[in-house]
């Protein structure tokens, strides 16, 4: 293996304390200063900050520990091992596919590395509309700067791959603004397989940065350890009850682990955080847990280009456009980006079968994809979804597509078709059951206006799960306060993207890192001064 696997090298030399809960044969009780549930963007940064402060930290992760030696650019293996519900998670009615990570390092192991600061209008909206304090743009700037430095976030300096270049060319032709995406990579090989786990450790995910740093600082990691419930007493979270998960990644072994600490940090992400709190019958007098869950609803447009694009190779995202993000004329704003398309991902979004599928896939090297990410949660017409529990206690997201969002999806289809034709597309297909490839912009736009706005026919996806445990000062409107402390238990903190009161309007990882640095630093200071 040409790339050293740090979990094989450093684990021994630095004496990392890592436990596969699935291999334990007896129930255990573990005590620490701080328990952190989840090792993604929120939990990873929190673990680094709190362990650096000298606290005895335990990290709990439901997913498996997969490291560079396991990342073989194999889509099916990655979807099965590294994603929630084998990449088959969906909303309650099945209409929206949800891509969310599930492994040590969380979604940061499989995201496409786009690293944006929280836009100022979003931070200002939280302040004026959601009673959030202390997230003013000038305050947050320092946290974003620190995390950008920590994770080597820089604008992608190499030329964009052809898939991304099409977005640039299409925007320029229409005189729409575009820009280069900052990425959290160090020594990136420009492979294109960020979504299946980085095989070169170039992506500065939590797996290779903050989690190792926390382990070096003496933090303990328990993986395949699923938080089943938090035990509450009055105004306090007493302990976390976990189920050990076997080597298949899904089946509980029957062994239970109990974690006790004076401070508990919840960082399991949107959907899973509200799920855990609901399973735990957490105090929720105003029924706010799980409400206003945001997803940046995504629709997509496929183009057959006049030359090879090879959408499976090269940094997956390097160009974006916010031209339609803030100046929205009353509609929903959206960001334009492109998705990488390896064959399985490409095939399953097409929605055809038989010869139409085969003929489309035979054009794979010439296919260009464009996606629009809708900025939900900023308008009366977009209040997000609700996380509830199914009969087995699994959290499930009920997300309605409102008229306001339907209008946005249609507008985005028009814009994406305009980008693609301007970039040299020979034909364009909005991803919808009733669409096909259209060879002129005029024909395509007429077809878009006629597409029925129906669930299960319009292809809708999300890879950005936010909210459901909103922060704010008014406990009738929120779940945690502006410091991340649960309104109804003084020692329980929620530090990750689930506390965002709206969607971000950008890929959320850096927003989570900045928030986590701020909240965990404050928590460490509070604990040390107590």
């Amino acid at each position: 293996m040409a790339i050293p696997d740090i979990f094989k090298q450093r684990a021994q030399s630095e004496n990392w304390a890592i436990t596969d809960a699935g291999k334990l044969e007896q129930n255990q009780t573990i005590e620490a200063d701080v328990i952190i549930i989840g090792t993604g963007a929120g939990g990873g940064v929190s673990a680094e900050v709190l362990s650096q402060a000298g606290l005895n930290v335990v990290m709990i992760e439901e997913g498996g520990l997969f490291t560079s030696d396991n990342f073989n650019m194999d889509e099916l293996q990655a979807y099965g091992d590294l994603y929630q519900e084998g990449a088959g998670r969906a909303t309650k009615d099945g209409a929206i596919s949800i891509f969310q990570g599930r492994a040590v390092g969380g979604t940061t192991v499989v995201n496409w590395t786009s690293s944006f600061r929280t836009p100022n209008p979003t931070l200002e909206h939280w302040q004026t509309e959601h009673g959030v304090k202390g997230f003013e743009p000038n305050v947050m700037q320092t946290y974003f700067e620190q995390m950008e430095k920590r994770l080597n976030v820089e604008k992608w300096a190499m030329p964009p791959n052809a898939n991304n270049d099409a977005l640039k060319v299409g925007c320029e032709a229409n005189q729409w603004s575009w820009a280069v995406i900052p990425r959290n990579v160090a020594g990136c090989w420009n492979l294109g397989y960020c979504g299946t786990g980085c095989p070169t450790n170039a992506k500065q995910s939590m797996l290779v940065t903050t989690v190792p740093e926390a382990l070096k600082n003496g933090a303990r990691l328990f993986y395949r350890c699923s938080a089943d419930r938090i035990v509450f007493s009055e105004h306090k979270a007493e302990s976390v009850e976990c189920l050990a998960i076997g080597a298949d990644g899904d089946t509980p072994t029957g062994v239970r682990l109990t974690f006790k600490a004076p401070h508990i940090v919840l960082a399991g992400g949107a959907i899973n955080n509200p799920g855990l709190l609901l399973r735990s019958n957490a105090p929720d007098p105003h029924e706010r847990i799980g409400k206003r869950t945001m997803i940046h609803p995504v629709n997509a447009s496929l183009a057959k280009m006049d030359k090879e694009v090879n959408p499976f190779y090269g940094a997956p995202q390097s160009i974006y456009s916010d031209h339609f993000q803030w100046n929205t004329e009353g509609g929903i704003g959206f960001k334009l980006e492109v998705p990488p398309m390896q064959p399985a991902m490409g095939a399953q979004i097409v929605g055809f079968h038989g010869m139409r599928l085969t003929n489309t896939m035979e054009h794979l090297p010439n296919l260009q994809g464009t996606i629009a990410l809708l900025r939900d949660g900023f308008d009366e017409g977009s209040q997000g979804g609700t996380v509830e529990l199914d009969q087995g206690g699994k959290p499930i997201l009920d997300y309605p597509i409102t008229d306001y969002i339907w209008q946005g999806l249609r507008k985005a289809h028009h814009v994406m078709a305009e980008v693609q034709f301007a970039a040299g597309a020979k034909s364009v297909m909005p991803l919808h059951h009733d669409a096909k490839f259209y060879s002129s912009l005029k024909e395509c736009k007429a077809a878009i206006d006629a597409l029925p706005q129906e669930l299960h026919r319009q292809r809708i996806m999300t890879a950005h799960l936010m909210g459901g445990c909103a922060m704010g000062e008014d406990e009738r409107q929120s779940v945690v306060n502006s410091q991340g402390r649960f309104h109804h238990a003084d020692n329980l903190y929620i530090i990750d993207g689930s506390v965002f009161p709206t969607s971000i309007g950008a890929n959320p990882q850096l927003s989570i890192y900045g928030l986590a640095l701020k909240q965990a630093s404050q928590l460490a200071a509070n604990i040390k001064s107590a």
């Binding site: 650019m73 088959g88 298949d248 390896q342 085969t358 896939m361 087995g392």
Partner: protein, 181 residues
């Protein structure tokens, strides 16, 4: 249960497939995997159904020579079996409910228009069934089609056997970056 009742259920609830599979269960039409099976999720009846559907769903991409085609489908089913397991208990159950519906003669005939057993169904019958579900005005059938379509197309195109035809050379630097287990 007649077609109208089923459709009413379907329109009323996203759990309607469960209701139909309950009928199948009550009438003793489901089977379960034998102990020590090499399969994690797919029962024999499911494999027969998927084997019948694959040449239609993937027309033009499977090998045409019968033995090679059968081998390609068998390989895909093994990959799919694990992929379904990885979807987790909730999604696996929903899929199994769908398979129950498709394997139970009455509900199969009423919802798909295919009245013969899957292994005897013609290419045209199966193509009609897939189009009927895809183009149905009922979201529930669109959803079920999407589920089968995504599962089979992702599984097929996720395997190296499918790559030469679509011009995908495979991952970069495999000799350096792929770690053999």
């Amino acid at each position: 249960m007649n077609r109208r009742d089923f459709l009413k259920l379907g329109a009323a609830s996203s759990a309607a497939l469960t209701a139909t599979s309950l009928t199948a269960t009550l009438t003793g039409c489901t089977d379960s995997l034998p102990e020590n099976s090499q399969w994690k999720t797919l029962r024999e009846s499911d494999r027969i159904f998927l084997t019948a559907v694959a040449p239609v769903m993937l027309k033009g991409s499977l090998p045409t020579e019968p033995a090679a085609q059968q081998q390609a489908i068998n390989n895909m089913l093994q990959t799919m079996d694990l992929a379904i397991f990885k979807l987790g208990p909730h999604n696996t159950k929903q899929l199994m409910d769908l398979f129950n519906l498709l394997n139970f003669g009455l509900s199969r005939g009423l919802t798909t228009g295919v009245w013969s057993k899957w292994e005897n169904a013609s290419f045209e019958d199966i193509d009609n069934f897939l189009n009927r579900w895809r183009d149905s005005s009922l979201g529930l059938f669109n959803l079920a089609f999407n589920g089968l379509n995504k599962l089979m197309s992702a599984t097929w195109y996720g395997q190296p056997a499918a790559w030469p035809q679509v011009g995908y050379p495979g991952p970069l630097y495999p000799d350096i970056l792929i770690t053999k287990s």
